[in-house]
Every structure is written in C-alpha cells, then in structure tokens.
Symmetry: C2
Subunit: 355 residues, 2 copies
C-alpha cells in the first residue's frame, strides 16, 4: 500500500497541527468512534476505555473541531451573529452584554460586527455570518438603504431579531424601547411645567428611534394644544460634537428655548456641554450678579452620570442589558423552544422617568 517499510500506521504530522479524533484514537488505542462517543458523553462506553480516551485527550490537548462537527447533517454551528451600529456607544455595549449572557446560557457564542450605521457594511456582515452558518441573527439595523438582505426570504430560515430599532417592511421579531411613550411623557412633563418653547435635539429621521421619539414629542404638544416651535427643532446630530453645536445655535437665538428635550444620550451630553459653555460665557461677560435662567433639560436614555449632571437633568431611563437579554431570548425561543413557527412578535420595553 505504501513504500514506507514500517508496517505500522504512520502518524505523520498534519499541516494544521491540531490533533484529531484519529490522533486521540491512536493514543488511546481505540477507534475514532469511541472517542467521539466519549466526547459526546454517551453512556454506553466501558469505563476503562472512557478513561483511556480522556487521558489521551488531556495529553494531546485535543479540542474537538466544531467547524467539522457542524458539517454533519442536523448539527448546528452554535453561533449567533450580532450586528451593532457602534459598540463604543455604552448603550450598545450593554445590549451586547445582555445578548452574550443569554447566548452563553444557551451554549452559543456570538460573532460581533460594527456596521457603523453603514448599510453596505451591515449587508456584508450578515452575508459573512450566513456563510459561517450562524443559527440566528440579532441586528441593530442601520435603517438606511434597501433592507432586502434582512428579509426572511434572503435569510433562508435563519431567524432574525431586531434590537432597539425596527425596519419598515421587514416583519421579524423585534424588541424596542417604548420610545413614543417615553418622549410623550417627558415632553408632557415639560409642558405641564409651563414651558412653551421646547427645543428638540435628535437623530436624523431615517433613524427609527429618532423618528419615534420625535413623534412622541409632537404628540405631547398636540395633546396639550401647544404648537411645536419648529425653529427649535434640530435633527441630524449623531454624535456629541454636532449635538453640542446644535444646542449652542439654539441658545444663541433671539428668543431661546426655556427647556430642551434631547432624544438620545449623545444629544443629551452635547446639550449639557453647550449649556455649561454658555453659562461660563455668561458668567464671564455679565457681572451684574443676576444669575442666568437655568435651562430645563430632559433626555432620552440614561447614563452613568445623569444624576451628577452639572445641569439639572431628568431622563427617560431604560435598560440596555435587559433589551439585549430579551432579544436573545426571543431568538432562542425560535431556536430551542417551541415557538419556532409563531408569527413575528414586537415587544416594547417600558421606560421609567427619573426626575
């Protein structure tokens, strides 16, 4: 069969270096099948053989090749794909934490990618994840561009859950924060306090949450029969710098607002910075001892320093970790649970108002 004089089965080193069931089998002097059975925790293996296998595994430092394993029919990859717009945003870090926690509990690992709000990147990430045969996907959708890569048809049966944002025209499981109610209640509070010129700082309306929070803001005005002051509406700030800039502009208007509703933590932080800067400016300019009127600020999203803000701040609080957990739980209900064929569900997590 072979020109090698040695009649024994020759164990030549493989390229990859990692030992295989074969290697373990040789070392333990059993068949590969027995190794496989031991690794799978099968009951019907003679204790002695089991022990020989376990010893060989330890000696060789063997790790079962999960990729090869997932190739067998009926086997799963044990992988869940997660697409986040920006993991450096503490809110999404919490989201990932919740997802990972539940995934680990279900014996799965997560593949994570940042989409940077870029639909092209998002599409690539999803395609790659599908190529790695993830069992499910959790996506914070960027919300721009055609979402055909997220349609169930394109996913060929791989369950998808949207977290934090939904996509119009894509009917899949979704976990949201109750944006509209949160924005409505916060704005209503400001109106009830007598504010009539309330600034709005938020995302582009192409961002799902931005749209919904703006809707709550509007609805509160309608309910109170107060007109939204359009000059005080600033949309499109995605980061702290632009939010600070927008707030600074609003403060410089001839007729500035008496209160601000900011639709996310980026805008809240920017608003705080702008207000502090303006106060310092005023303190420097005027020395008549008259304190400048304090700006009333209400923000969507909480953050660690909300209660220590130098500007009095109320927030619409909600729990990112819990949102992540819920998204993952919905996914695993379809994967492991009985609910594989339920129609798509949308869950809205409650918010809590913190004065």
């Amino acid at each position: 069969m072979s020109a090698i004089p040695d009649g024994q089965a020759e164990r030549r080193p493989r390229a990859s270096g990692a030992p295989t069931v074969q290697d373990v089998a040789v070392q333990a002097n059993v068949s590969p099948m027995t190794v496989s059975r031991v690794l799978s925790g099968a009951k019907h293996v003679r204790p002695e053989l089991r022990e020989r296998v376990e010893r060989a595994v330890a000696e060789l430092g063997y790790h079962r090749n999960e990729n090869a394993r997932s190739l067998r029919p009926g086997q799963q990859s044990g992988l869940v794909g997660v697409t986040i717009t920006n993991i450096a945003n503490p809110y999404y870090a919490g989201l990932q934490r919740g997802i990972e926690e539940v995934a680990a509990r279900h014996g799965r690992r997560i593949l994570v990618g940042n989409s940077n709000e870029d639909p092209v990147l998002e599409r690539q990430l999803v395609a790659d994840f599908l190529g790695r045969r993830v069992e499910g996907l959790i996506v914070v959708p960027s919300g721009i561009g055609e979402p055909d890569h997220l349609q169930p048809a394109a996913l060929r049966g791989v369950p998808l859950v949207f977290a934090s944002r939904a996509v119009d025209g894509v009917a899949v499981d979704t976990v949201l924060v109750d944006d509209v109610t949160g924005a409505f209640e916060a704005t209503s509070t400001l109106l009830r306090e007598g504010h009539r010129r309330i600034a709005f700082l938020g995302n582009r309306l192409s961002v799902f949450t931005g749209r919904r929070r703006f809707r709550g803001f509007r609805q509160a005005h309608q309910s109170a029969r107060v007109a939204v002051v359009e000059d005080l509406v600033r949309l499109g700030q995605q980061d702290v710098e632009s939010a600070q800039q927008a707030m600074a502009e609003v403060l410089e208007l001839a007729d500035p607002p008496t209160a601000v509703f900011s639709a996310n933590n980026r805008n809240t932080v920017g608003a705080i910075r702008a207000i502090v800067a303006a106060q310092r400016q005023q303190a420097w300019t005027r020395s008549d001892g008259v304190p400048p009127p304090q700006m009333r600020l209400y923000g969507f999203d909480s953050f660690e320093f909300a209660d220590l803000s130098p500007v009095p701040l109320s927030v619409v609080d909600h729990d990112a970790v819990e949102l992540g957990r819920r998204a993952a739980e919905m996914l695993f209900e379809r994967l492991d649970g009985t609910g594989a064929n339920l129609p798509p569900r949308v869950v809205e997590l409650p918010v809590s108002l913190r004065a």
Copy 2:
C-alpha cells in the same frame, strides 16, 4: 442506482436548507468545480460560465459555507477569539471596537465572550474558541487562578495577545497602558501640591493593573520621601458601589485625606459620588457658611464626563480603542505578517495627564 424513475439527477432538499456548490452547479449547468473557481475569483473561467454561475448564486441566495471551507488543509477559519472581563465597562467596549476595526480590515471576524473576571469561564471560552479553530486570541486576563490554559503550549501554536493586563509567567505579546508612570505622575502632582494624606482607591492586588498602579502610587511617595498613609489605602473595590462605600469610610475618618488617587474609572466614579454625598450632608448639617474644604481628586482612566465632574477632577487619560487596535495589529503581524517567529513583545502605551 436508484429506484426513482426520473433519470435526471434528483435534487432533493437537504436537511440544512442552505444551498451548496452542487445546487449552484446544477442551476448554472456547470460542474461544482467551476462554481468554486468563480467564487474564488479565479481568472481562467469563460465569461459566459462565470455569468451563469453568478446568476445562479444570486437566484439561490447561496452563501459559501465557511466552516466546510476551513476544513480543507491550509485554510483558515477567519476567526479571532476575544475574551473580555466585562464588555459593559465602557473601557472594554472601546477595546473591542479597536480590535474589531483592525480584524475587519484583515478580513477576520471576532468571537466575543465575557469572562466576568472568572478564570473558569475564561478557560471555557478559550477552549471553545480553540475548538472553533480561531486563528488567534486576544485576552483581557482575569488574573486569578492557574493560567496554564493560556500557556503557548496549551494553545498549540495559536497566537495569543494580552490586552490591558499581563499574566506573570506567561510570555506572550502584550499591550499595556503605562500604569506605573501614570500613577506615579498623578501621585507626584498631588504631593507637589503639598498633599500629605492621599487616599488610594483601587482593585484587588490580584488584578494586574491594580497592582501596577498601586506601585506607581508608592514609588511617587518614595521619591518625595513621604510615607504612604496606610489607613487611607483601600484595595478591592471592583465596582462603583463598593468604591463609593470605601470613599465614604475614608471621608469619615477622624483625620480624613486632603486628596484621593483612584486607580480606575469605577473607583473614580464611586469617589465622586461619595464626595458629593458628603458635601450635601455637610451643607445640610452645618449652616455656619464655612464652605467645606474641597477634596482633590485624581483618577486613572478618563471617561466622558470627566471634564464635567461636580468634583474638580484630574485624570490619567489613555485610549482604549487604540489599545485594542494595537493588540489586534500585534496579532496580525504574527498571522499575516513576517513577524511570525519574533520573541514575545510587550508594548506600553503612553498616558496623558489632564488637569
């Protein structure tokens, strides 16, 4: 060969549902090999066939099975495993962002797990990642327990990079912050300002960074020939709550500190909370108009609100995203670059002091 009357090759649906090269080949009326060649971007394929294949891929929604692909000799998984102690900590979120950015640039995806500072979980994560044939590992080591699972021998040639923390006795590539210098300079500044009773708030000494930052604190005292006030040293706070508690205790001492050095952002936040609470308490208790002495606070790690802290705060700043990038770059130098056989390198990233 088969009892099926239909002489054509029968394309029965496979269990997994996902189409294979076979399916694409049938659809495009070519051999699987041609499909493979097209997908690999091979030059020598007749344009017509190429187009037929591409059409079939689109029609079927085909995604190449990367797990099967990685089985072939010489193929890599395209995966990097990342173990973080707690992704909900904004610092580590930044770290992950940096890692992911570089990994994506190198065409790799990241598998991420939280170890929760638990060496058992960390070990499981690493074992699982090895089973998935990650090409490399980036680990923020928990630093407790025997690190034999991180020894190069146990990793069988899979490169490992430590990020933010090292492990004694494990010689691998490491990216650190210059903890000792940062703590030394910060403490020296406080001493230069005349403070002689400086509190220290930090991690357990089993945490690598905690140990190093404490060393810097001590060395600064030695250099200034000032004794460390041992009563003011509080080690072991891993979260904001315990840090706040520790700071509160220190403030209640008969002879409280005039300054505080906190060794990480959790402890800084806790210290701020305790100081604010104490000030409120004092304002409420005493009404003699004498302002309570302001506490001087210097913290390791920056955070978003550092410059808006209600307590005057200086920080030792450093860049988590950049640390993540550097760790990933070191890894890919071994993977893709020429430096596969370099001896282990340790990089210390500089800190910057922000008054």
